[in-house]
Symmetry: none
Subunit: 234 residues, 4 copies
DNA sequence: CATGAATGAGTATTCATTCAT
DNA sequence: CATGAATGAATACTCATTCAT
């Protein structure tokens, strides 16, 4: 008399609801092929489940997609070595490098999934409504800014360091390293970003590109105020 | 002797070809709603023209899209104050700010248009075949890197400045400032980025966030080598 | 547990699948109007069914056409008295007549269906892939030639009889009797070929048209070698 | 003040009307690629003439096609060595062979053109209304029958020869030799029919395939009346 | 509550025909 | 009378969604 269970779940341990099974299946398809061109039928077939079952558990395709996207992001986050959350520990330099590596890996895994949804505001809105909406760049950005703020508080960064700007630069660089690949190649099988590129980004953010203090281009005093004198005081 | 003219062109000034009219219409639709979900019929209806007329002027939808995209990019570029191409002129600080402002505005206007095409490589390929394929991020990146390299050559930047990294950071930041908006709203409704955000980015790239030379957090010597000593020599 | 059933099937006896219903409908349309100009929508409308339903049961239009064509050919074959397959039995004369009658009736019913496909080789290829690909003329030709060869082996035909030629003549005559009708009317309105036409063909193939042996037109010897002396030995 | 002339005609000698030019162009296209898939635009482009000009000279596409088809048939006829029209002259044998060769060549050139029209009754009706509608098999059939009738009258054929049947068999064989090629291969570049195939057909029609007079299969008298005794008298 | 066939609006593209110039 | 761009109905096919079983 209890409600029928989908065959595919009986084959399983049986401790997963069909709803969860569908989300997991959609998540896997999103991870493998991105969101674009993903049809309801493909999900149902991959889940070894009837087409219409989706509508017993979700309002529509968009709700399922939002949930699957969410699950995808969370599982990507889980699979990556977390960037250092505690300021003051370890090498500042290495910590920053870890953030960059993390951001690149995160975007590499997540951006393709979002690419197909940019014109589906309802999916994104639903996604935003879910707990832990860390993805999309915003979450990482805030976390990094917070970390940098803490480091600044601890005196490991310049007291006038533009931490929000630095966070934007770093997370943005992660996008920039990933985007060109999305425009040209297959979603999977991307080669890793070379270490020296990440090193250069780290050092450049730390030190900037202005002339070092005391240098002189003309021999007759600085033609322009030294960068360190410009800091925040413009 | 001349063939019939489309009704919509007679109502107009009348000196525009239907081909131009169609490109302009598609361009407007792209600017307003992005490329994704843009149908041939929507373009024809918006242009107040029969469905099939498109194929009298373009090989297929993709050709029209590529041309409209191109027109969109060019008109955006035309509407923006160009960044300084000549190194050594003007304020380095102001030049960088101009680049950032330009990049942000460019991406703000252009990214939504490209977003829908991430999975239609053929349109992108056709677009790349058109003259002035500067957009897409790549062009700006190279141009900025080249500018920075020239400034470094002129001695207006640190001799060991990571110009490629800086370019990546800056262009990436432009993406980062725009991407979150893509996930929430319609392209047409995007507001400009505040000036102080751009200023902060500029200063941070120029000066970095490391502790200034000579500063000391513990009074017992630097716990870690000073940033300027790390430069390129690790 | 079972999914919905098409409304049109409920009105029917109800024991037919929609797939069968679609094939039968297409078959009827082919029988009535031939294959050419037959659209997917026409089939769906005639079957009182939604447009897209076709693609739940067939890969594409061509598969349905090939199957309907196949069904048409089989039902025509079933409706016709089969020609004698065993040589040596019955009247040679009557056997031949039966072959001709069969061929004419077959072509009369089948040629219009194939006519529209002369330039759609893919449908023909799929059709050829189905079991019992006897139609199209080739099958009947081979079968008839084989039958005649057997009769010759049994001594019921002249030892030098041109059985392949005879088969070509007979099957060709079947075409010839049908083709002119294709050019003028609708397939459904074709009337059967009169019996005496078939008789004449039979006798002419059996006996030829040359002068009988021993006859003489001029009284001064044959102006040309007698036909029977020409047999195969020229 | 005289009506404008199409540019393409001025380049010509100028003694051809545009109507004739269009018919000739369509004829050439039909000869090269058949009737199927032949578009009005293709004809106009090939004729180097505006699309709409067709409708100044013909009621519609179908009228032009019927006329072009007619012209095609006539020009094919003109290009072929005519079969012997005069009975009593030459070798009967050779004459028949010439008819077969003619029929095969005629059908090879003409059938592809008709293939695409089998479902356009209006084109065919218009074609039938034109003078000299010899094609389609009917014309050749009648001519051959008439020739055979004359030979019979002259005593060069059996007095009870089934000339209509023989004509049907021969013309039909011509179809049969051509049709299989149409179903499988490219319209052009067909290899010629081997001479011995034509010889066999000729001899078989002349002599039939029945047992020769006086032969006996069982030694106990003919199991069935001899073919020559069956002639016309059943 | 699962099933999966049925639905039908929607997609890009073609092409005979019209008609202002 | 020629022009050739404009027209729009038609084509095969897709896919999110529904619903009787």
């Amino acid at each position: 008399m209890s409600p029928r269970k989908a065959a595919v779940l009986q084959a399983d341990g049986g401790d997963r609801t069909l709803r969860e099974h569908l989300i997991a299946t959609a998540e896997r398809l999103i991870a493998e092929h991105g969101t674009a061109g993903l049809t309801v039928r493909a999900i149902a077939r991959e889940a070894r489940v009837a087409d219409g079952v989706l509508y017993n558990h979700f309002a529509d395709k968009e709700e399922l997609l939002a949930l699957a996207l969410h699950a995808h992001v969370r599982s990507v986050e889980r699979s990556l070595a977390e960037p250092p959350r505690r300021a003051g520990e370890g090498d500042l330099d290495a910590n920053l490098r870890a953030y960059i590596a993390y951001g690149v890996a995160l975007h590499l895994a997540i951006l393709p999934a979002f690419a197909g949804l940019l014109h589906q505001p309802t999916v994104l809105a639903r996604f935003a409504g879910l707990p832990n909406p860390m993805a999309g760049g915003r979450g990482l950005l805030d976390e990094l800014a917070e970390y940098l703020r803490a480091e600044r508080r601890l005196g490991r960064l310049a007291p006038d360091a533009g931490v929000e700007a630095a966070a934007t630069l770093i997370v943005g660089a992660c996008h920039q390293l990933v985007l060109p690949r999305l425009l040209t190649g297959a979603p999977a099988s991307f080669e890793p970003i070379p270490d020296d590129v990440i090193d250069d980004l780290t050092q450049t953010v730390l030190n900037g590109i202005a002339l070092p203090p005391g240098s002189d281009t003309s021999g007759a005093g600085p033609a322009q105020p030294h960068a360190s004198e410009l800091r925040r005081d413009q």
